[in-house]
Amino acid sequence: MNHQSSSRPAAPAGCGVAGHALVECRASALGELRGRAGPANAPPIPLRFLRHADEHTVVGLHAVLAVIAAGSSPPDLTRHAVIAAPCQSGRLAAARTLALLASDGAVSVSPHVVPQCSLHSVAGAVSVALGMHGPHLGVGGGPDALAEGLLAAATLLVHGDPECTAAWLVATDWEEEPALDAAGNPAGDPVCRALAVQLVPAGEAGDDGQPRHELSLAVRPLGRCESRPQLHQPAGGIVAFARALAMCRAGTALAAWAIDCPWGEIRLTARSITKARVREAA
């Protein structure tokens, strides 16, 4: 046997957080959001691009645009990667498709259901809409999607594509998974939400020369003999993560935030840092 590394902790993958945005939209307002051009200071979405898109894609793309719009200058997106982590995306379309299949047969099945409502679709749409040429990937798909997405994003950015200058994590879900009627319409007016986080290589989370709070995200599976850490704020969905990001960025909280996952830890930390220290660290 020679698996010596298994007895010691693995080194974490550390990323900087350059920006984030949370978009929430009720089902009744998704039609309007689907046709909206996006913020003025973000790249325009191609006309009717979201016509056939899943609800998760609509809010996911708008969350990415909101991050870009909040930046001081439009980033060069060409070498950016996209990792989307939707939770049960495509369910409304699947329900509609299956109801139609039963009533009208195969001819009723939309050709858009596979390209637009699969696990890769949110990431694919962001990549296509914004002309990104880094890899794009759908990850998770279930209740653990956020943790899986953060793990995959850190993997690609730190240990994956060496040409990648940033990786977008786009996590989406319904606030509460809605019950659907026989035609696939949601009961009530549920909220679909998306958190977009722009991750960059550690030490590159800003370049304005001002003292600031650097947010770093460390993803680290546990060593075989390591015990689980005591989490400061265990478990949390995308809204809890968005709140932690906002508090850290505003400087109102510098405590670590961590997400609960059985194989290790994903930890967000913030610290005051100046450009000189960034250079020194590099």
């Binding site: 698996h3 195969a106 296509v128 998974e177 659907l180």
Partner: protein, 411 residues
């Protein structure tokens, strides 16, 4: 080649494949699959389809039998839906084939499963069996976590989806986890199933061949008369480990996952870009990552599914990435025999590359009667070609413009 690529390549310890398993239209044992791949046997045939989903596409490449995984009771296996059975069999099979220590004090093992539409398929299977799961407000754990629990995998477990490149991305993530020291070994690959809705959706998209008169002739990548792809099901899984650790425990080394290249077209949700630049960038990145030049490439297993646009785009990408060396690199598409395994395609075609290394031959593109002049490559039509194969590349391209190339090398 960027300095980062060179540094990572130089620092990386080789990652090798020590376990293999597959379930496919050509069989469910590695030897049977290789025998049929190199004999040019087609797995395409007429299929029974749910009456609610009758379409003109009544042929595909189905899996005839899913083997009962070692250590799983039949009663327990029979309770799983077909998608979970098709995923569990190669995951458990690859672990068993590797002989890796799975005790609690053994190596850290992770799992990355390429699965592009798990929920769509699961909801459909349930619905066709008179279930209501798609309408109910529930969130169940995904298959990857159920498989990890069932097979005793305690490391990270992730589902990865990049449409038809999904299982290739699974291999890419697994290798990165090993490089990072996050796991000692990782099971990676992917599978997919035929389903009435997916057949209907691809048919209505006009992506499927309509050559219903002779199903075994329908899948004809690079042929002048190709008219779309044929759907298949199945896939493959691998156990990856660091070479030194694998050699130290006396594992059989089946090959090295030597290079990975990834990119996105950023152009269209369905159609591949007619500009081959990004697909070529993925191929070139994989070669650079492996430290091989195009002239050292002995075989390319093309993504080529048999679509009029996709095959031409891929031929352009290979030529752009490999330049003059293209003239001497044999290229074939095993989808001509297996159909398109969708989420499982990339892993299965990486397996075909390992077959080429093991058998020292290039599997053929069957049905390639008249190569399309718009796809000027060194084709291997109809019959396998004996050939020295040390380094092979496998291309996978997916909806949304996802491009992936894996380079496999003899270990």
């Amino acid at each position: 080649m960027s300095a980062t690529t060179r540094r990572r390549r130089d620092e990386r310890e080789p990652v090798v494949i020590t376990g293999l398993a597959a379930v496919s239209p050509l069989g469910a044992t590695i030897d049977t699959i290789f025998d049929r791949l190199f004999a040019g046997v087609s797995g395409v045939r007429e299929i029974e389809i749910d009456p609610r989903a009758k379409t003109a596409a009544r042929f595909a490449a189905p899996v005839a039998e899913i083997p009962l995984p070692v250590g799983i009771e039949w009663d327990e296996f029979a309770k799983l839906d077909r998608l979970e059975q098709l995923c569990l069999a190669p995951v458990a099979g690859a672990l068993a084939d590797s002989g890796i220590d799975r005790s609690p004090n053994g190596p850290r093992i992770g799992l990355v499963l390429g699965l592009g539409a798990e929920h769509l398929k699961a909801w459909e299977l349930d619905f066709l069996a008179a279930g209501r799961a798609v309408f109910e407000p529930r969130r169940d754990p995904t298959i990857v976590h159920r498989l990890a629990a069932r097979t005793g995998i305690t490391g990270p477990a992730v589902t990865a989806a990049a449409a038809c490149a999904s299982s290739g991305y699974a291999l890419a993530l697994a290798r990165a986890w090993i490089d990072a020291g996050w796991v000692d070994a990782c099971v990676a690959g992917g599978c997919d199933i035929l389903s009435p809705t997916s057949i209907a959706a691809f048919y209505n998209l006009r992506a499927l061949s309509r050559r219903a008169d002779d199903p075994t002739k329908a899948s004809r990548p690079f042929d002048r008369d190709r008219d779309g792809f044929v759907m298949g099901e199945g896939g493959a899984c691998f156990v990856l480990e660091r070479q030194a650790a694998a050699a130290a425990r006396g594992a059989r080394l089946r090959g090295e996952l030597a290079g990975v290249g990834m990119s996105s077209d950023g152009v269209h949700m369905v159609t591949p870009s007619t500009n081959p630049a990004q697909a070529a960038r993925a191929i070139a990145a994989a070669l650079a990552d492996a430290g091989v030049s195009p002239g050292e490439l002995d075989y390319v297993n093309a993504h080529a599914a048999g679509t009029p646009v996709g095959d031409v785009a891929e031929a352009g990408a290979i030529r752009l990435a490999c330049g003059d060396a293209t003239e001497a690199i044999p290229v074939s598409s095993t989808k001509s025999m297996t159909g398109h395994l969708v989420s499982g395609a990339a892993a299965f075609e990486a397996l075909a590359c390992l077959g080429a290394i093991e058998r020292q031959a290039v599997p053929p593109t069957v049905n390639l009667d008249e190569p399309d002049p718009a796809c000027p490559l060194l084709h291997v039509p109809h019959v396998a070609r004996p050939h020295r194969v040390v380094v092979a590349a496998s291309n996978s391209f997916g909806f949304g413009g996802s491009n992936l190339c894996l380079v496999l090398r003899a270990a």
